[in-house]
């Protein structure tokens, strides 16, 4: 009985347009076990978990729960099988009370006629809250709780759901629960998790490896949608795990190092950030980028790197600090200001922030330069527009059936190139790339790397946040490492003498 498999997944395949997210993945969860699931962003962790709880449907593969082959097609079905997930984003209703949230949509489990049996619900929820070590009164409104208490409420809800489905050993999935918690809250979560192990199994996802080692019994490693490791926690060291996650030695020319433009001291500084600060996000920071230079920003999520980029672009307002563009001081209060000064931004959320999916390739590419294409009657010169777009499509090797194809039907890699084309058309001096290769498969990644090099060669100053350290090191001239909103290190990545990921991880955690 000791090693009874609660969840057994075999030969799981899943692909999205243009990306194979999971390839022949095997994943098991035993009774009363905490499994750590690690891998870089885009390795397929979340996809795998979403398949378990029925948000995605696998392309092929076998899933057995408690020994029975089962098809889970929605989270409700998953809950009935005792599988629940604690999402990165809270899934609670903020203006409801704790008790209301715990029993939401399952109030009928209490026998009542018309009015909700408040008393019984409060008593039941008290019992559940005790289990997760939360002392708050069940009548408290959710928005008055701290993020960690909210998590506990979610866990209590998951426990309740598996209880009413009378599942013996529920499986709880914690998807990066610690990113939003303070250190003492993390300890609390761990204590409760270890307690819960007596009656449940937990899948624990985190990018902080020390936490994974601290909590898990077993660690499963994914890379690029494939299994690359499955270890008892005592059978592997943290360094080896890092190696596995990040990949092996860098393939020599994967990142086109030979095209890297060394930033000599006499080169012109394109953008200077002077003592920029955003309270609660990052401490005052200064840096500058030269012509043709690629500056990598590294750090765990919440380290402030994304906020820095958003402040430069004017998406969020900085509290203090100055920006200089080619020596002149500029004031940026909105993306509009930034674009007018020649700063571009390739967002992490390509589909929602980077493209008009329903519009065609042409209008997406020329969006920012339409004013340049107007003739004296203020009418767009369609011939010129087409020529401009066609040139960029050729230059960036965008694969599309025609200029008039809706962007939604094009693969992720080519969509990303369309965004690059948009900024290239605008002739921006500074380009911020926020995870430019997220959700893009290996081949297209290579293409994007080529284009990034090409842009740098053209004299653009580039700020890069990457999915992987490997990518950040490979492409950048220099890397700034952040932790908790503070710059911890500045690491040179000169041609031929690139650091290894472990050098940088040390500063990140």
């Amino acid at each position: 009985m000791e090693n009874k498999k609660i969840i057994e997944m075999k030969k799981i395949y899943k692909s999205f347009p243009g990306v194979k997210a999971l390839k022949n993945v095997e994943f098991n969860v035993n009774k009363n076990e905490i499994v750590g699931l690690v891998g870089e962003n885009g390795a397929g962790k979340s996809t795998l978990m979403k398949i378990i709880i029925g948000l995605y449907k696998e392309d092929s593969g076998i899933i057995k729960i408690n020994g029975k082959e089962s098809k889970i097609r929605n989270p409700k079905k998953a809950a009935e099988n005792g599988v629940g997930m604690l999402f990165q984003e809270s899934s609670l209703i903020y203006n409801f009370t704790i008790a209301e949230n715990i029993f939401l949509c399952h109030e009928h489990e209490f026998n009542y006629r018309f009015f909700l049996p408040k008393k019984e619900m409060l008593e039941e929820s008290k019992k559940l809250l005790e289990k997760v070590g939360l002392t708050a009164y069940p009548d408290t409104i959710i928005s008055n709780l701290s993020r960690s208490s909210q998590q506990m409420v979610e866990i209590a809800r998951l426990l309740w759901l598996s209880k009413i489905s009378s599942v013996g050993n529920p499986v709880l999935i914690f998807d990066e629960p610690t990113t939003v918690l303070l250190s003492e809250e993390i300890e609390q979560l761990f204590k409760i998790s270890k307690n819960l192990k007596k009656e449940a199994s937990i899948i624990f996802i985190s990018h902080r490896l020390d936490e994974v080692f601290n909590l898990s019994d077993r660690i499963v490693v994914l890379k690029d949608g494939e299994n690359v490791g499955n270890f008892g926690v005592n059978d592997i060291k943290q360094e080896n795990l890092e190696q596995l996650m990040v990949g092996h030695e860098l393939a020599r020319d994967h990142f086109l190092e030979k095209d890297q433009i060394e930033s000599d001291s006499d080169k012109e500084e394109v953008i200077q950030i002077i003592k920029m600060e955003k309270k609660g996000k990052f401490k005052p920071i200064s840096f500058s980028i030269k012509k043709g230079e690629i500056l990598g920003l590294s750090g765990a999520s919440g380290s402030g790197k994304e906020e820095i980029c958003k402040c430069i672009m004017g998406i969020t307002k900085k509290d203090r600090g100055k920006l200089k563009l080619t020596g002149k001081e500029i004031e940026i209060n909105s993306p509009r200001d930034a674009v007018q000064y020649g700063i571009g931004y390739v967002p992490i959320d390509r589909r929602n922030e980077g493209l008009s999916l329903q519009l065609d390739v042409l209008s997406n590419i020329t969006l920012l330069v339409l004013e340049r294409l107007l003739n004296r009657f203020r009418i767009i010169n369609l011939k010129e527009e087409k020529k401009l777009a066609l040139n960029l499509v050729k230059e960036l090797f965008i694969k599309t059936p025609s200029l008039y194809t809706a962007v939604s039907t094009i693969s992720g890699g080519n969509q990303q190139k369309i965004i690059l084309a948009k900024w290239l058309a605008k002739n921006v001096k500074v380009l911020i790339l926020n995870h430019p290769t997220r959700g893009i498969d290996v081949g297209s990644k290579q293409e994007i790397y080529k284009r990034i090099r090409q842009l740098a060669k053209g004299g653009m100053a580039i700020i890069l946040i990457s999915d992987t350290l490997e990518e950040n090191i490979g492409l950048s001239n220099r890397i700034l490492v952040f932790r908790d909103g503070k710059q911890k290190a500045e690491i040179e990545c000169k041609k031929g003498s690139k650091p290894i990921p472990a050098d940088i991880i040390g500063y990140m955690i």
Partner: protein
């Protein structure tokens, strides 16, 4: 394994949907015309065609304006109020300033749209609420100008004849609206404004992050809507030789229905002036045809409702619309 690979490859090839299908509404229009013609041959008589042309021009001009607002995913419920206000202002200014009454009336219609746009963007009040409120305000202003409906005085008849008369058997109103449609078509297809409105409608956040002046562009959309309803009000007042505060009431929902029947989604980012023209024609042909073939007046609303639902079910290009609200 080979089969698996084949499946994978199959999934990787993309299906290419054709861009806007404007043909469906057009086909629908012809089918309906044919049905009415079979029901009563005089449906296509010159006299009746002129009648249709006149109703169509009223619905069309207000719908053309409405189109630009719907294109950005907003809504303009004040078009009826603007039409009423314009009808009264038009008859009064014609009497006072002669031919200059036309531009003055249009400026007021444009200003009404400007007010909508400014309240919507600067105070960040949803367009539904903004225009619901301003629509009422415009009606009230109309009442304050004239409590009772005002009739056209004999001295301005010659101006009204510009619109009511016809050249080469084509109504003046239809000519004016054709010019408007042409102008709006150019704006939609070939102007900076048109392109940007599409961009805002299809992805507002992206547009903002790309540095587009959202507020300004949205205000322009509402001005275009105001001007459209202005021209519509002018034609209606000329037809009826009178203006009143309740004149435009019915045209609010009718204009929205016409745009949607033409194939534009309320969620914004798609559709075109051509689609709107077809939609407006559909609406006016159906309304006229039901009378011509003798459908019970009391049942006509029900028929219209059924046809609108059917038409939208057929014509709306759902492939591009993610959420239907």
């Amino acid at each position: 394994m080979k089969k698996e690979e084949k499946n994978q490859r199959k999934k990787e090839s993309y299906s290419f949907k054709k861009l806007p299908i404007i043909y469906l509404p057009i086909i629908l229009l012809f089918v309906i015309i044919l049905v009415f013609y079979i029901g009563n041959q005089s449906f296509l008589s010159l006299y009746n065609l002129k009648t249709i042309g006149n109703t169509a021009s009223i619905i069309l001009s207000v719908s053309l304006g409405q189109f630009f607002v719907l294109l950005i995913g907003s809504i303009d419920l004040s078009v009826g109020g603007i039409m009423s206000l314009v009808s009264v202002v038009y008859l009064i200014t014609l009497g006072k300033f002669g031919i200059f009454g036309f531009p003055i009336t249009l400026i007021i219609a444009g200003l009404a749209g400007l007010v909508n746009g400014i309240i919507y963007t600067k105070f960040k009040i949803p367009s539904f609420i903004t225009t619901l409120a301003t629509g009422g305000i415009f009606v009230s202003i109309t009442y304050l100008i004239s409590k009772a409906p005002i009739a056209a005085s004999f001295s301005i008849m010659k101006y009204l004849e510009i619109i009511n008369g016809s050249i080469l058997n084509i109504n003046g109103s239809l000519i004016i609206v054709t010019l408007l449609a042409f102008l709006y078509f150019i704006i939609q297809k070939y102007s900076y404004l048109g392109r940007i409105l599409f961009s805002i409608g299809s992805n507002e956040k992206m547009s903002w992050m790309s540095g587009i002046d959202l507020d300004k562009m949205k205000i322009y959309a509402f001005i275009l809507s105001g001007l459209g309803s202005g021209i519509s009000g002018i034609i209606l007042a000329s037809n009826l030789y009178s203006g009143s505060a309740i004149l435009g009431e019915f045209y609010v929902l009718e204009s929205i229905a016409a745009v949607v029947v033409g194939g534009t989604a309320l969620s914004g980012g798609c559709g075109s002036v051509l689609n709107t023209i077809v939609g407006a024609l559909l609406m006016s042909v159906i309304k006229n045809g039901m009378t011509v073939i003798g459908i019970n007046v009391y049942a006509q609303q029900a028929f219209l409702g059924v046809i609108i639902i059917g038409a939208v079910a057929i014509t709306l290009d759902r492939g591009k619309v993610i959420v239907v609200k």
